[in-house]
């Protein structure tokens, strides 16, 4: 099996793993981590397409690679915004749960 096919299969596995974590983790920061794992999987799949598309005598196709670089930076920017929203939720409400039922029960702040 060539290294690029192997990397593609790793990418597919990462998407699966990340999806599992994204759905099941109750904590929003853990969801964010899992979402980043999915993103990395997608980048890897894109990367092997870059490797395969080397039709011009290069060992890789620079276009998808450049887009992955752009993607990594944009993914970071989105994660930073998500972290700020989670911390903002905490400072407003005193907790970070996404469970809609939890909001109807008295929270740690309201007890005072």
């Amino acid at each position: 099996m060539s290294p690029s096919t192997l990397a593609g299969l790793v990418g597919a596995t990462l998407v699966g793993l990340g999806l599992y974590g994204l759905v099941l983790h109750p904590h929003p920061l853990r969801k964010l981590l899992a979402f980043n794992v999915i993103g990395n999987g997608v980048f890897l799949v894109f990367g092997i397409i870059a490797r395969r598309g080397a039709a011009a005598g290069l060992s890789f196709d620079p276009v998808p690679q450049a887009m992955v670089i752009t993607g990594i930076v944009v993914a970071f920017a989105a994660s930073a915004l998500a972290v700020a929203l989670i911390l903002g939720l905490y400072s407003e409400a005193g907790r970070v749960t996404l469970d809609p039922d939890a909001w109807t029960k008295p929270g740690p702040e309201e007890g005072k």
Partner: protein, 317 residues
């Protein structure tokens, strides 16, 4: 006998294991640490895919700066983690989600194994653009980023600025204009201080070097800028420096400098070279280095601000 295939398989299984531990770890901090290790391992895969530029970006931004962001966030949330036990999903939901995840992964894997033999590619066009009269860059990735797909790269910087604006606007109204909360503890450990003293000067040099060689070798504005950003954050964690007030003039100028210079040069291309974002022949390389220098500045300012978070009350400098 060639040992590379075995190393590939070893690396692949390591990555999947570490990614799995990121997803299933009980503790938030353990998950974040696994994620950083996993990002560094991914950088090795990118090297195996002949993508050293992506590997550098993944190691610096995907693993390093994202790790700092999540560790900082985890620390700020640490106080409540124990106070409120989260409802865990039941076994039925776990099995169902697991089945869905396996299905999606298998579908993707099948698609990868069945890709067409002669893949469609933009590589010839990109190579022509990179080696054409307007370029003269040895690194095709940099040529694609700044020349062939220049509009994407410019807009991506705009995305960074929008993210900074988004993060700032989450802060309280009363705190507007203040500095974000400090990154480090009020009394940083001696090890952190020592690390900052040794690493920050060397890392700054390496960052500038990576930017400078990026025209012809792996590297470039993203990777160099991310490294400079990381060094600034190390200095802030050791409390040699504090996050700046968000209404500082120099800060805002630095943030917009990259895309602004890029846009001005792009508009100048209409009159100078006959096309938006066209570079006059012979001058392309100095112009590209000029644009990249400002982009490095913008990235080095934007990334630490994204990590530092919204302006905070009570931390006025």
């Amino acid at each position: 006998m060639n040992i590379l295939p075995f190393l590939d398989i070893l690396l692949a299984s390591l990555i999947v294991t570490v990614a799995a531990s990121t997803v299933v770890a009980r503790d938030l901090f353990a998950a974040v640490v696994s994620y950083v290790a996993y990002g560094l391992l991914l950088a090795f895969v990118w090297i195996r895919l002949y993508a050293p530029d992506v590997a550098l970006t993944e190691a610096a931004v995907g693993s390093g700066v994202t790790g700092v962001l999540l560790i900082t966030a985890g620390k700020r949330l640490a106080a409540i983690r124990k106070a409120e036990p989260e409802a865990q999903p039941g076994p039925a939901l776990k099995w169902l989600t697991g089945a869905l995840a396996v299905l999606v992964a298998c579908a993707l894997a099948a698609a990868i194994l069945m890709l067409p033999d002669v893949p469609p590619s933009l590589a010839p066009e990109a190579v022509t653009a990179a080696s054409g009269p307007g370029a003269g860059l040895g690194n095709p990735i940099t040529a694609v980023l700044i020349s062939y797909r220049s509009f994407d790269t410019m807009l991506e910087k705009v995305v960074l600025i929008l993210a900074v604006v988004g993060v700032w606007s989450i802060g309280k109204d009363a705190a507007w204009g203040n500095a974000p909360a400090p990154l480090g503890r009020s009394r940083p450990s001696p090890a952190m201080v020592f690390l900052a003293q040794i690493l920050a000067p060397i890392g700054t040099l390496i960052g500038i070097h990576i930017f400078w060689v990026g025209a012809d070798a792996p590297g470039g504005a993203f990777q160099g800028g991310a490294l400079l950003a990381a060094m600034w954050m190390v200095a802030m964690m050791a409390r040699f420096d504090e996050p700046p007030r968000i209404d500082a003039k120099w800060l805002r100028l630095g943030l917009v400098a990259g895309p602004a210079v890029f846009l001005v040069v792009g508009l100048a291309g209409i009159s100078m070279a006959g096309n938006f974002f066209a570079y006059p022949p012979g001058f392309a390389k100095p112009i590209i280095i000029f644009i990249e220098a400002f982009m490095v500045l913008s990235i080095a300012v934007a990334l630490p601000l994204l990590v530092a978070g919204p302006p905070s009350e009570g931390y006025e400098t």
